[in-house]
Amino acid sequence: MKQPLSFFTLAFCLGIFAASKIHVSFLATYFLSIVILVLASFLFDKKPFFHGWLFCLVFLAGALSFENSKILPACHIAHQAYVGSGGYCTVRGIIDSEPSVKRGRKSYIFAVSQIQFDGLKSACCGKILVFFKGEKNLLYGDELILNGKLYRPFSGKYGSQSYGDYLRGQGIFLLMNARLALSTNSKNKGFPLKRLALWLKSEMEKIISRRVSGVAAGILDAMILGEKKNIPPLVNNSMVKSGTVHILVVSGFNVGIVAFIIILFLRLMRLSRRSRFYITVPCLVIYCLITGVAPPVVRATVMSIVFLSAYMFKREPDIYNSCSLAALFILLINPRQLFNISFQLSFVSVLSIVYLYPRIRAILGFDSLKIKYLRPIIDGCLVSFSAWLGTMGFIAYYFKVFSPVTVLANVIIVPVATFVTLCGFSLVFISLVCPPLAGLFATTSESAVAVLINLNSLLIKLPGAYFQLS
């Protein structure tokens, strides 16, 4: 079979989806899957039977993995809270994410290792989302003792799902308003590679905010580092309406640019194919960590690594297989990601481009087009149209917007966004290597961002550009 991984991924996804709709007992399903595994082993050489059993087996593995993600150990904080005094308790643990500041409040994910309430202290596990008002300088990996009130997330909507569902998808079941945070003064316990990535991110943010003004810096932060907190809501909304909001998040497009820059740089240094591979892969992993390990970036990183491996071993890469591998990788770690909007849009857009673009091109007869300079424009339009066709339904369902202007907007905006991203990366690089030149890059980046915003606002003013569905 040309794409065996697609077969496994499809079955696995169906299993997760089925388990989310029908409640199944973990033990019964596990027993059934063991029986099928034994049967499949016996029927290894009987082709149609074996394939059917294998499909069932992967389907059940998907269902089991989803069920397993719902089971929390007895020591989990979600089981231990509320036993105490009205939610007030003391917890000890480490900061598991980069602290972010919003409206004067710091928030971060906190991995709990100990809980104390009503004079009872016990070991515990799990993650909570902590809010803390104050100036205390906190870093990923810091060990803290927090005192505050634990509560469940409110049921407001976050996109198409409730805020609680959104947090549960990330393994967070409780929130805490901390009123006291004490540092244990112990050594930073964070994962060293993630610490390095977050340090690089903060340094890059500092460079951008020092060189570029407010709005432009916010947009560059989003496009290069995946940090969306500084994007003005007006700009974000206008991008949603024109269907070009994907350029404001780090996606495969950005990972591709990073890989391209690194490989180009290493080639200029005349390094061997093998050395280029061993340097590029860790750089891509660090970039994935810098941008917050969002599903589109993980997908693009895994796919890039597969492509680079194929290049190194001189094998022909298959886009469906690499895409399936990326999906399996994400879903095996967290099966709930199947219901994440970002995961769905990322994979649907890639698959629709890969599947639809060559077919539409062939149907419309553009393969035989003789005018060379028209080809890139037509190809850009067709790629944008294929992605729009694939994601249209999802966008209408989740964002309640139908944007016919998307195809035209992407054809115009994406080249400008590519230029902005390249300028942003160059700005950071030049600021480190040759600071006197950085001013020139900063001016260019700022102007390019201004062009991008103005073009977008022009496009959404076109008649029939977008329709609000609710």
């Binding site: 065996p4 009872l120 540092s183």
Partner: protein
Amino acid sequence: MFNLTRQEKQAGLFLVSVILLGLGIDFAVKANARVGSVIKTDAHTAKLDINKVSLDELAASQCLSPKLAKSIIEYRNNYGPFSALQDLKEIKGIGDYRYEKLKDLFSVE
């Protein structure tokens, strides 16, 4: 449609077996996890000893304003260590309401 080669079938079967084994072990670990020993303790890990805490620590804890933190330290320097938490009420700016909020965060040892 699903025409897997012999090697693909072997790899698939192996991978599914490993995933199932992993899921089984993970489930068993979770199902058998018990709450570790519960210790009854009077010592609160998240309480500041009002007689030992420094101005920087008080300010960093964010539980009171810098001005009030300074007043507490000044009071301790002028009148000696606190004998009871209620002594906090002697400080200007700490009334009954604020005392109720602060008493859970401080201890006197």
